[in-house]
């Protein structure tokens, strides 16, 4: 990682020092500093692109993901944005609305076969494109389900709320596990709205009212949301799942060590589970809690900024990235779902018949975007706090009301966020 970055910057120095003025430099920022596999793929694409033409020179800069959004906001504030940057799907509308991104001008045919969750639309325009998507599934073990006589759910016939609840109670009653299920509440940040708001949607509620995007009233504190809230709280009062103070270490290893029977987890954790349990591991679809089964869509994507002085070159680079070989390489490197079926076929884990191919199906059938609005930056965070508070025992209706007020006040202060 270090040698690559240092190598690159010295190349850049040499380039500016010796090469003709015709070559324009394009800066690319992405979010996985400390992840050598992903960085290697980015560097490979950059090198290929630089070798493929002589008009532009792309220079990549990697950032730690846990503080990425904060860094970008600071840079935007300072007017110091790069040409191309990685952006988390649900955050994209905020940056687009703020005027920091420009719509992508790329060949639409190239992304026709991409998973819907990889395409970042805001205000009718494509602003970002991802080379992978992520999916959430119920990690389970065949042997445990069989032992407790629990039906294996399918995409066509997922668990119902009653069935799901009964399964948890059955496992709890056996006393063999610390908790029947783990929702990963130890993970602060985006995990809550990404992985848990689909459960609310499955009840019929939502973070905001998507018909107008101007209020959360009813969506987040209506009948369905209150029902969800009560059920959510009961998971913790009945001790069916560890709460927000869960040890991050247990989130990592609890399911693998048999402390938890089920784990609501992301596709990027699938490899570890397969290594541990082999054929016994199953990745099950989300339950249908009354209003259909839903999981979150959209992962990190790439966008071009309005600060770029070489928009054409930046667009050319983004288009250059959209090759099956790169998509496959990313998937191999970081374990996420390739954006196209043809790229999936080139991977070890997502090819037809491979153990993680099932995620491709889940993503196609159940994935739904988080609310596509600049206000998501705040509403997603408010939702997380509210969910954590309810899990910690706060009054359900009051918490959801408070969340609605906070979200509505924010929308008002931002004059409707352009909706």
């Amino acid at each position: 990682m270090r040698t690559i970055t240092l190598g690159l910057s010295s190349v850049a120095v040499l380039a500016t020092a010796t090469s003709s003025l015709a070559q324009d430099q394009i800066e690319l920022w992405f979010n996985n500093a400390g992840n050598p596999a992903e960085t290697a793929v980015v560097e490979r694409i950059v090198n290929d692109f630089n070798a493929s033409q002589s008009d532009y020179e792309v220079v990549a800069q990697s950032f730690p993901q846990s503080t990425y959004n904060e860094t970008i906001v600071a840079a935007a504030l300072a007017g110091d944005l790069p040409d191309i940057l990685a952006v988390d799907g649900p955050i994209m509308p905020n940056w687009a609305w703020s005027g920091y991104l420009v719509p992508l001008d790329i060949d639409q045919q190239k992304i026709e076969t991409f998973l819907p969750g990889t395409k970042g639309y805001w205000d009718g325009e494509l602003y970002a494109i991802g080379l992978w998507d992520a999916a959430v599934a119920m990690f389970a073990r065949r042997s445990i389900l069989e032992r407790f006589d629990i039906r294996v759910p399918t995409l066509d016939e997922p668990w119902t709320l009653a069935e799901f609840d009964a399964a948890l109670e059955t496992i709890k009653a056996s006393g063999e596990f610390e908790y029947p299920i783990d929702f990963g509440l130890a993970i602060q940040g985006e995990w809550y709205p990404y992985a848990l708001s689909p459960l609310l949607q499955s009840f019929g509620g939502d973070i905001v009212d998507r018909s107008t995007y101007l209020t959360a009233e009813n969506a987040l504190n209506g009948e369905a949301a209150l029902e969800f809230g009560e059920w959510w709280q009961s998971l913790f009062t009945r001790e069916l799942a560890p709460g927000p103070s869960q040890d991050p270490a247990d989130r990592e290893t609890g399911f693998l060590e048999g402390k938890y029977a089920l784990s609501w987890n992301g596709s990027w954790k699938a490899l570890g589970a397969i290594d541990e349990f082999g054929d016994d591991i199953m990745f099950l679809p989300a339950p249908d809690l009354g209003n259909g089964s839903t999981i979150g869509a959209a992962s990190w994507q790439y966008a071009v900024t309005s600060a770029s002085e070489h928009t054409e070159g930046a667009m050319a680079f983004v288009e250059f990235m959209l090759k099956d070989e790169y998509i496959a390489a990313f998937s191999e490197g970081i374990g996420l779902i390739p954006a196209t079926l043809s790229a999936a076929a080139m991977t070890e884990n997502y090819a037809e018949g491979a153990p993680m191919h099932v995620f491709f199906g889940l993503s196609e059938a159940q994935a739904k975007l988080r609310p596509v609005t600049p206000g998501y930056l705040v509403s997603g965070k408010v939702f997380r706090e509210s969910l954590a508070n309810i899990a910690n025992g706060a009054d359900v209706a009051d918490s959801l009301d408070a969340a609605v007020d906070a979200i509505d006040a924010d929308i008002k202060r931002n004059q409707g966020y352009g909706h």
Partner: protein
Amino acid sequence: MSTATSDNRPARLLARYMVLGLIAVIFLFPLVFMLISSLKPDRQLLSDSGSVRAFLPVGDISLNNYVAAFERAPVELFIFNSVLVTGITVLLTLVVCSLAGFAFTFLNWRGREVLLSLILATFILPFESIAIPLLMIATQLPWIGPDGISQGWLNSYRIQIAPFIADGLSIFLFVQYFKDLPKELIEAARAEGASWWQVYWRVVLPLSGPVLATAAILKFLLMYNQYLWPLMVAQEEGYRPVMVGLQYFFLRNPAWGEIMAYLSMITIPVLGFYLVLQKAFIASVASTGVKG
């Protein structure tokens, strides 16, 4: 309890050491936990972390985490950046704040009283509460470099240094210390025709060892541990300090062994530095403290 204890019967002596030792354990155990954990693979580290095994180098012990940490992130670059930024800031603090302290203590000039109370009032402002307006200002500041005049200080060492050179607390420390220096020395030097600069440089500074050390230590601790500010202003990897570098290890799958190794690496140099100099370290904090 008095300063001198003549009561040294073995039983009581033993009891005293037991108490002292027990308290020492309380202060030491998290560090031992960190060091020992840095030698273990992730899974073992986590399963050991609840028992006495957390403090014992047992099981699969190796330096693998350290090797892996260097592979994951340019650790030596982060340490270099932190040391550089910290070192320069400390040096400039000593110069700038001692000069100001000197002016406030020994010189009689228009505006002195008002400005002193204004400066002292600034030390109740938490840095976090002015960080964002400061960021906005930093983007407007001009700079004259080899390429001519440019605007904006982001992505540089200077933006990590300049805001922290002068602060109310450091100036206060110097004022407090200078107040107690014998006035006659200064008057004598002036009577012999020394300039104020000579008085500062030849008379006052040589007597200011303890306060220089205290100001240096406090600034060192502040600077080496910066984390919110560099996050905002150091976008390029080349300028990132150690606490930002730590974020490289908190990924989708946090690598706890490497985290412990990294924490050890950024802590051990400071601890070593402290242990070597601890006598002077503590003496200087104490001597300045008592002047308050």
